[in-house]
């Protein structure tokens, strides 16, 4: 022993006694207060951002519980009724809870949900959102199979299914209805299949919203879940020109009043479930189903009016305009979406008149204007702008709010009309802030929004257009760029109908939506929802009169209610409520906070509709999982939308890291040892 061999030497008395007492005290104090050994990171909030899914280290857990989604669409006239069935099957050895974030149509009125578990059918009921969450958590902890459907955005939903036992096949069926509004006599039905990865601004109100932290499969990896869709079209007029710009389809009954559409197996093996399904069709004679539909309910009666607008007539006098193009060049736009956007800008900017002025803002994490102020749309200026845009590559985050604030602060000539044209995929989480900003600060301009890509965030695009009194466009591929640019030009040059007003004669209506009709910029009908009072025993008589101004002068259109009452349009009550909720949500976005929470919750509960404040919940009363506390939650990964690169989630940027610590230490120790050796030789 070292200490025993060491010769004992005396210490001075004072030093030893003082040291001994002090060290004893120190040891005692430290023993009592011994601090936690881990660094305290309890204040650090986790980042809520999309991420790439990684394979499980535990093979007994099924990380891909969603096996398939099947969609059954029934379109009757202008109303679509959609049934979406999600099949969850646990092929692992451990029970799991599944979470799946999926998209929906922006206009969807989700009104029912049911869960089929083996031979049992559980019907979900609507609940206030927090209450539903409490019930779900309680049932989950008790080991009961339960499903909760929540709305995160009008077009983003989250499904939670708890306690899926090994071998379970859980089919969750949800139903929604929506109104199909034609544009230029072309009807369209869109079924989104994937939520694009959202950039979550740390400064945004949604920074801590957990649904945004959704896993994504790597670029080029096909979705793990199957996708089937069929559409049944019933129309009073023959259906023609049934096309899909997104998928290969097979159509039966073309030219008749009943057509069936199914997905065809794609020749290039493209998966079906990684982009919006977009279906377009026309009716015989390029007519639209205009008119006034009445529904007589048990307690309330509803109506829907759709008025075909007059044809656009080019005005002789076209006043010069100032165009500001706001172009998203963030990581999610990299590649195909940005190439599509560039093609669009070639047509938009290239088609400006010499009397117009323009400027371009490119934004991602930061933003920059191509010119300090708007420049005349001369050939040289246009070519210069297009050359600069052509060199851009997509990278970085999507700070759209600072970009729009800068646009709002740009000086504007009082006698020049300004159009702001936003070009983006919409993969952000700050929709409300954007709508508020557009409505409050860009109200002196018309704001048009172009959604670029195969799975655009249509809630943002449509919301910007609505808030900015403009129009929304979606361009899924470069070939559509010229036509959409031309459509915008026509719309700006010759608005179809302004100062639109609607009134009813002979029909006692109330709760009409929208309360103020927007200008009709082109190709879209005027749509009105509302309620009416009437004697249940008497046929309803009355008429709707729509008035406004066109390029040729005053406009007036009448629709009679006679013989238009029907008992088959019960969806009108849901569509009215959905429209009222949208109006209240817009109002709430403008005011900030949750001012309309009570009103929206009341509507959701009364009409059994999914809203931001109400959720569907279904609970099995049988306790099936004996150990729910140890049941892992599995986040179902989504595929990256077709054409969207990995940069949308995050990409590796080269850096210059130091060598591995152990290698570096070996080198340094080698040098030290060599120094010792040479020292000894000396």
């Amino acid at each position: 022993m070292f200490f025993l061999r060491y010769p004992l030497r005396p210490l001075t008395h004072l030093g030893r006694v003082v040291l001994c007492i002090a060290l004893s005290l120190l040891a005692a104090v430290l023993m009592l207060i011994s601090p936690p050994s881990q660094a305290d990171d309890s204040q650090a909030l986790p980042a809520q951002s999309p991420y790439f899914a990684v394979d499980s280290a535990d093979p007994s857990v099924d990380r891909l519980p969603l096996k398939s989604t099947s969609v059954d669409v029934r379109i009757a006239g202008v109303i679509a009724d959609v049934t979406v069935t999600q099949h969850y099957r646990n092929e692992g050895q451990r029970p799991i809870d599944a979470r799946y974030v999926f998209p929906g149509s922006t206009q969807a009125a989700v009104y029912a949900m049911s869960v089929r578990l083996g031979d049992r059918l559980l019907t979900a009921h609507i609940e206030e959102k927090q209450q539903a969450r409490i019930q779900f958590d309680a049932a989950r902890k008790q080991g009961k199979t339960t499903a909760l459907l929540e709305q995160e955005r009008p077009n983003v939903f989250q499904m939670n299914v708890a306690n899926i036992l090994p071998g379970d096949d859980v089919a969750v069926e949800l139903r929604y209805t929506e109104l199909l509004t034609p544009t230029d006599a072309q009807y369209g039905f869109v079924f989104p299949t994937v939520v694009g990865p959202r950039y979550n601004s740390p400064q945004g109100a949604a920074a801590q919203e957990k649904w945004i932290a959704t896993p994504y499969l790597r670029e080029g990896v096909a979705p793990s879940a199957g996708f089937e869709l069929k559409v049944s079209l019933d129309s009073p007029l023959a259906v023609k020109d049934v096309v899909s710009s997104s998928h290969e389809i097979e159509v039966e009954g073309l030219g008749s009043r009943h057509a069936q559409v199914t997905l065809a197996s794609d020749r290039s093996d493209r998966p079906h479930g990684n982009r919006d399904f977009i279906l377009g069709y026309r009716l015989a004679g390029d007519r639209i189903e205009s008119g006034l539909m009445l529904f007589r309910g048990e307690r309330e009666n509803f109506f829907l009016a759709m008025v075909e607008p007059p044809k656009a007539i080019a005005t002789a006098q076209i006043s010069p305009r100032d165009y500001i193009f706001v172009v998203d060049i963030s990581g999610s736009m990299h590649g195909y979406p940005l190439e599509t956007a560039k093609e669009l800008l070639v047509h938009l900017i290239g088609g400006l008149r010499a009397s117009d002025t323009f400027n371009v803002m490119l934004f991602s994490g930061s933003n920059r204007m191509l010119s300090p102020a708007s420049v005349p749309a001369t050939r040289a200026n246009i070519d210069q702008a297009l050359r600069t845009i052509a060199q851009m590559g997509g990278s970085g985050s999507t700070e759209i709010v600072p970009a729009l604030k800068r646009i709002a602060s740009l000086p504007k000539q009082p006698d020049v009309s300004r159009s702001v044209i936003v070009v983006t995929d919409g993969y952000v989480s700050v929709e409300s802030e954007v709508f508020q900003l557009v409505r409050k600060n860009l109200n002196q301009s018309n704001v048009f929004a172009f959604g670029i890509g195969t799975s655009v965030n249509r809630h943002l695009i449509e919301g910007i257009a609505r808030a900015g009194q403009g129009e929304a466009f979606v361009v899924t591929k470069p070939e559509q760029a010229a036509a959409q640019a031309e459509r915008l030009r026509r719309m700006i040059d010759s608005p179809v109908l302004t100062q639109v007003k609607a009134r009813f004669e002979g029909l006692d209506v109330y709760d009409v939506e929208p309360q103020q009709l927007p200008d009709v910029l082109g190709g879209r009908p005027v749509v009105l929802f509302g309620k009416w009072r009437g004697d249940a025993t008497q046929p309803t008589q009355g008429k709707l009169i729509v008035e406004g101004r066109t390029a040729e002068g005053a406009y007036r259109s009448e629709l009679s209610t006679g013989e238009r009452e029907t008992q088959t349009t019960s969806a009108l009550r849901l569509l009215w409520a959905r429209q009222r909720i949208a109006t209240l949500s817009d109002q709430e976005a403008l005011e900030g906070g949750q001012q309309q929470k009570a009103a929206i919750t009341e509507l959701g509960l009364r009409y059994s509709l999914l809203t931001q404040y109400t959720s569907f919940i279904a609970i099995d009363q049988v306790v099936r999982n004996s150990n729910p506390a140890l049941t892992p939650t599995v986040d179902q990964p989504s595929p990256l939308p077709e054409g969207v690169s990995a940069l949308a989630v995050g990409a590796e940027v080269p850096s210059t890291p130091e060598p591995a610590a152990w290698l570096a230490l070996l080198v340094v120790m080698g040098i030290v040892v060599a120094t010792v050796a040479t020292q000894r030789r000396r």
């Binding site: 005396p10 210490l11 130091e658 040098i671």
Partner: protein, 279 residues
């Protein structure tokens, strides 16, 4: 020869205290500060810091073991008081400051205790340096000094690349070189090189028995060498990345190790230079 016969109980206890070797007193002091070492060990065990400190600890223990036979039987009161004061401060810091600050005070307290027993012709500062380097320092250094180091490295590398005709600019700790974005992120800051170079300086100073004064004089040169070394390493790697040369991770490592070796050899030369100047 006279022998004192201890007749009282107190006197016998006093004699036993006098008989305790210096190394045991140091061990007792270290034990009194145990909670700081426990924190350091937990930091290493939970992976929140690289276990580089173990190397410094090994060298420190080796150096103390070499010194032990020559330790003074009568400690210097001034250094003993300093050891006591720092031990109290380390204990008080548990209430007042982050755990790392307390651990540094504890390491310095131990170094003062060592100094109290060390022969007067031996240097203590390199040992104090090793005691501090034995703590889990790198992550905290990265947190507090990482960003400034990254910015300085990025800016100096930008100038170097501009000098050789490349189109380089810096924004924050990122560089845009010939249209390519390259980030100087935390692992590029040079903090690890700082630790390696100072560890090398302390170890070589112990081996060469450099005096405290000359050791202190060498330290600024060590800092300068690290800064230059990291800028050269970063500029070379950024230059290669910007030219789209496919630099494999192994080549990244190799370049980093070569530069580190050059820096450490220069540190050895500086320390030896100081020693030779002494001679």
């Amino acid at each position: 020869m006279h022998q004192v016969i201890l007749t009282t109980r107190a006197a016998r206890w006093e004699h036993r205290l006098d008989a305790v070797p210096p190394i045991a007193w140091l061990a007792l002091q270290a034990a009194a500060l145990w909670t700081h070492w426990r924190w350091a060990a937990a930091r290493l065990a939970d992976g929140s810091d690289d276990p580089l400190g173990l190397a410094a600890l090994c060298v420190l223990l080796w150096a103390v073991a070499r010194l032990a036979p020559d330790m003074r039987s009568k400690p210097r009161p001034a250094w003993l008081a300093a050891a006591l004061g720092l031990s109290v401060a380390a204990t008080a810091s548990v209430f007042l400051s982050p755990p790392l600050m307390g651990a540094i005070l504890a390491a310095l307290a131990l170094a003062c205790g060592l100094r109290a027993f060390m022969p007067s012709d031996r240097a203590c500062l390199p040992l104090a340096g090793l005691a501090v380097l034995a703590l889990p320092l790198v992550s905290s250094l990265q947190f507090y000094a990482g960003y400034p180091l990254r910015v300085v490295t990025a800016q100096a590398s930008t100038w170097v690349l501009q000098l050789i005709g490349m189109d380089a600019s810096r924004a924050g700790a990122s560089m845009q070189v010939d249209g390519r974005l390259i980030i100087v992120d935390a692992p590029c800051s040079g903090v690890q090189m700082v630790w390696m170079a100072y560890f090398c300086a302390c170890a070589v100073a112990v081996v060469t028995q450099l005096s405290d004064r000359r050791f202190v004089r060498a330290l600024p040169f060590v800092g300068l060498l690290v800064m230059v070394g990291n800028i050269v390493r970063n500029a070379v790697l950024v230059g290669l990345e910007a030219t789209h040369a496919n630099v494999s991770p192994a080549n990244h490592q190799a370049i980093g190790l070569v530069v580190l070796a050059l820096v450490c050899l220069s540190v050895v030369a500086v320390v030896r230079g100081e020693r030779d100047a002494r001679a």
